[in-house]
């Protein structure tokens, strides 16, 4: 269950065997079904999830409608990270879009792991850098690109997601209406 995590991590940092055992003890393997909520809006997010298999969606709720903030897929760490770090109620919901296999770690175990396995700091730093790059690309695309260009970029990078999740979720993630999305898709086909 950890092969995938260690394969992913080995691109960023080297762990000793002893460190790997500490990591394996710190994480819980959890299987959740589609639609299961890992973090509820208004409650503190106390865990972070590494996705072995499946999809998790982070979304806002505004006037009864949900607005997709991010879709996490395999080999990503997912969470309502702001709530997790600050221990404040989450303003987002984190929900499984598919049956998902997760490696789960709590806030306290994470802090203990940073102490026991200093290389975890390096791993988190590098993941944060990657995440920053992605967030930057998304934000820049919002500011500089047309909806059509945004869709093209999304398709190029996450084409698989178009088959795995309802398109209205993608539309809100790209900041366009479902109707526009469907028009753009027709035009590009």
């Amino acid at each position: 269950m950890f092969e995938q995590f260690f394969a992913f991590a080995s691109n960023l940092v080297q762990f000793t065997n002893q460190e790997k055992q500490l990591i394996q003890s710190a994480f819980t393997f959890r299987q959740v079904p589609r639609k299961f909520r890992l973090t509820e809006e208004g409650k503190i997010a106390r865990e972070v999830y590494f996705i072995n298999k499946g999809l998790l969606r982070l979304y806002y709720t505004k006037e009864g409608e949900d607005i997709t903030a991010f879709i996490f897929k395999e080999n990503l760490f997912a969470s309502s990270y702001d709530s997790f770090l600050r221990k404040v109620p989450s303003i987002q919901t984190l929900e499984a879009l598919e049956d998902s296999d997760l490696l789960v770690i709590t806030y306290d175990d994470m802090q203990r792991l940073y102490e026991l396995v200093p290389a975890m700091n390096t791993l988190t730093r590098k993941i944060a850098e990657q995440r920053f790059i992605n967030a930057q690309l998304v934000l820049s695309s919002y500011i500089l690109d047309s909806p059509e260009e945004r869709y093209r970029k999304f398709e190029a990078e996450h084409g698989d997601l178009l088959l795995r999740i309802p398109h209205y979720m993608i539309a809100s993630f790209l900041g366009i209406t479902p109707v526009s999305l469907s028009r753009i898709r027709k035009r590009l086909m």
């Binding site: 269950m1 092969e3 055992q21 710190a26 994480f27 819980t28 959890r30 299987q31």
Partner: protein, 149 residues
């Protein structure tokens, strides 16, 4: 941080029903791919005889029941050969999430002077066995088959 294996699964079932399935040891041979059978009584201090399926053979353990909290949790403590070498506290716990949804927590905490070395060898396989059992239990509980004894 202690050496531990911890696995969880979300099951659409009442906690009462899941408790019944999990503690009805007589039925284990019919559905459980990991703990093939348990003989003995689920009662604090009682000794059990557990037959566990490992990759290529059946291993027999004789742990002692530690704790039983009806509809919520039970655990047993076992040792390899003699106490102090490789001891394990194996536990199951059921948390209600909604009236018909629970989280099954299935884990083991290890101690003893050989535990690091042994876990290095069998940790992954053991965790995998826990998960295989969790999935079989989920299937059993959600299949609609009655659990009335």
């Amino acid at each position: 941080m202690n050496k531990r294996i911890k696995t969880e699964i979300i099951i659409d079932s009442s906690k009462e029903k899941l408790w019944e399935l999990l503690t009805n040891f007589n039925e284990y041979p019919h559905w459980n791919p990991f703990i093939r059978s348990i003989e003995g009584e689920l009662k604090q201090g009682a000794r059990l005889t557990n037959r566990l399926q490992t990759r290529d053979k059946i291993m027999v353990f004789k742990p002692i029941v530690q704790e039983v909290i009806p509809f919520h949790a039970f655990s047993w403590m076992g040792s390899l050969w003699i106490k102090g070498l490789f001891d394990g506290r194996h536990y199951f716990s059921i948390e209600e999430i909604a009236p018909n949804q629970v989280k099954l927590i299935h884990g083991e905490d290890f101690s003893g002077i050989l535990s690091t070395a042994i876990l290095k060898k069998i940790g992954d396989a053991t965790r995998n066995n826990f998960v295989v059992m969790n999935q079989a239990l989920k299937q059993l509980a959600e299949s609609g088959a009655s659990s009335d004894r």
